[in-house]
């Protein structure tokens, strides 16, 4: 393919052309440059602020992360313990529920008997009141009341065990709450301890440095003393 003559001509002539810009052109460029230069120094402060806040967030985040790790460990152990307790209480509740069912049946019988006696009592009231029948009715009511009392007792037991079970069930939440409380207190206590520790360490460091300097000073003093004392000796 031959080189395009016309294209070569176009290229050469256009490349050698120069067009003088207007006088305002440099003034505009000058203004743009000054604007760009004045903006630059401000930017450095912006980056410093971002860097500083980032470092603060990092340190705070690491502190929280370490404390959260401790909490999760304690909560996991509590959950495992509660699970074992639940199974034993569940077994107890099952046996009690059987007793409850039995006592419920007894209850029904006694209520029926009570109703029958009441009906009898009503019927007797209409006729001549028979003291013996009343006594019988009273005895029967007393017996039913005793039966009901006996029936109620296992129910109380059930309630007690259910409460225990509930306690077992509630324990997780209570424990969590208690853990949170204790953790809060722990947090506060930890904070105090860490700060106190830091102060102690700082104090220790300072003391050791002081001690070191004091020791060196005393050593040098003693050495100087000895040297002066022995100056005449050879």
């Amino acid at each position: 393919m031959e080189p395009n003559n016309i294209e070569n001509q176009i290229r050469e002539k256009l490349n050698s052309r120069e067009i003088q810009p207007s006088t305002q052109a440099w003034d505009r460029l000058d203004a743009m440059l000054t604007v760009a230069e004045t903006k630059k120094p401000r930017r450095n402060f912006y980056w410093l602020a971002i860097a500083a806040s980032f470092i603060v967030f990092l340190t705070v985040g690491t502190l929280f992360f370490n404390e959260n790790a401790k909490e999760t460990r304690s909560i996991k152990s509590v959950v495992i313990e509660n699970k074992t307790q639940k199974t034993s209480s569940e077994a107890a509740i099952e046996t009690i529920q059987k007793d409850v069912n039995a006592t419920e049946k007894v209850l029904k019988k006694t209520t029926k008997a009570l109703v029958q006696t009441q009906n009898k009592g009503n019927m007797n009231d209409n006729d001549n009141v028979n003291s013996n029948d009343n006594d019988n009715i009273k005895n029967q009511t007393a017996k039913t009341e005793e039966a009901i009392a006996i029936v109620i007792q296992p129910n109380d037991k059930i309630e007690q065990i259910a409460n225990q079970g509930k306690l077992n069930y509630i324990d997780v939440d209570d424990l969590l709450a208690s853990v949170e409380k204790t953790s809060k207190t722990e947090k506060s206590s930890v904070k105090i301890n860490s700060a106190a520790l830091l102060n102690e360490i700082d104090g220790e460091l300072e003391l050791t440095f002081r001690e070191k300097t004091l020791n060196t000073i005393t050593k040098k003093y003693k050495e100087a003393k000895v040297a002066i004392a022995n100056r005449n000796n050879q």
């Binding site: 395009n4 003559n5 176009i10 256009l14 052309r17 120069e18 052109a25 505009r28």
Partner: protein, 186 residues
């Protein structure tokens, strides 16, 4: 020796300009702006718009001057920035869309002996639509390959070739018109 001295002077001026020495910056501007404005004019018909683009491009030259690695010519480095600015101006301001046309032929121009003035040549270039003009300028004047042009304009290599082919055909007709006009047949 003169070339080496000039190069040293150029490096010194560049270093001063990087340090925001306004005098050095003006020196660079005065030296290269006429040629760069000529390049902008190739792409943009309105001289005021061309000047705006040139100033924006020079702003980028000075902000990126610290990144100049002193490999190759300083003028060539400036020229690239100017050409890229012209392309982005046309693509954004004039919203050029390229038809994905795969038609192109490998035939070259007819051998043309006649000489044209710079004004005629600019007139010919101005007659091209923006898409053809950009591809023609990048290929025929800047010397980029179709692969490079495709990247710069965000088009396929095939599209670049077809755009060039269309540009050449159009120029051919325009040249014929010019010649007929000059010969006084119209």
């Amino acid at each position: 020796m003169k070339v080496i001295i000039l190069h040293q002077e150029e490096n010194e001026i560049i270093q001063l300009a990087v340090a925001n020495n306004r005098h050095a910056q003006q020196e660079i501007y005065s030296q290269f702006s006429p040629k760069m404005l000529s390049i902008c004019r190739q792409y943009i018909k309105d001289i005021h718009q061309a000047e705006d683009v040139m100033i924006t491009a020079f702003m980028k030259v000075f902000t990126n001057l610290k990144n100049f690695e002193h490999k190759g010519s300083f003028e060539g480095w400036i020229r690239k920035i100017i050409v890229n600015e012209c392309i982005s101006f046309i693509r954004v301001q004039k919203k050029v869309s390229f038809l994905d046309d795969k038609y192109y032929d490998e035939e070259s121009f007819n051998y043309i002996e006649s000489q044209f003035s710079v004004e005629d040549i600019q007139f010919l270039i101005d007659s091209l639509p923006d898409g053809y003009k950009m591809v023609f300028n990048l290929y025929a004047i800047e010397g980029y390959k179709h692969q490079e042009i495709a990247k710069m304009l965000g088009i396929n290599e095939g599209t670049s070739k077809s755009q060039l082919s269309h540009a050449r055909k159009m120029l051919q007709t325009q040249i014929n018109k010019l010649k007929n006009h000059e010969n006084g047949t119209e």
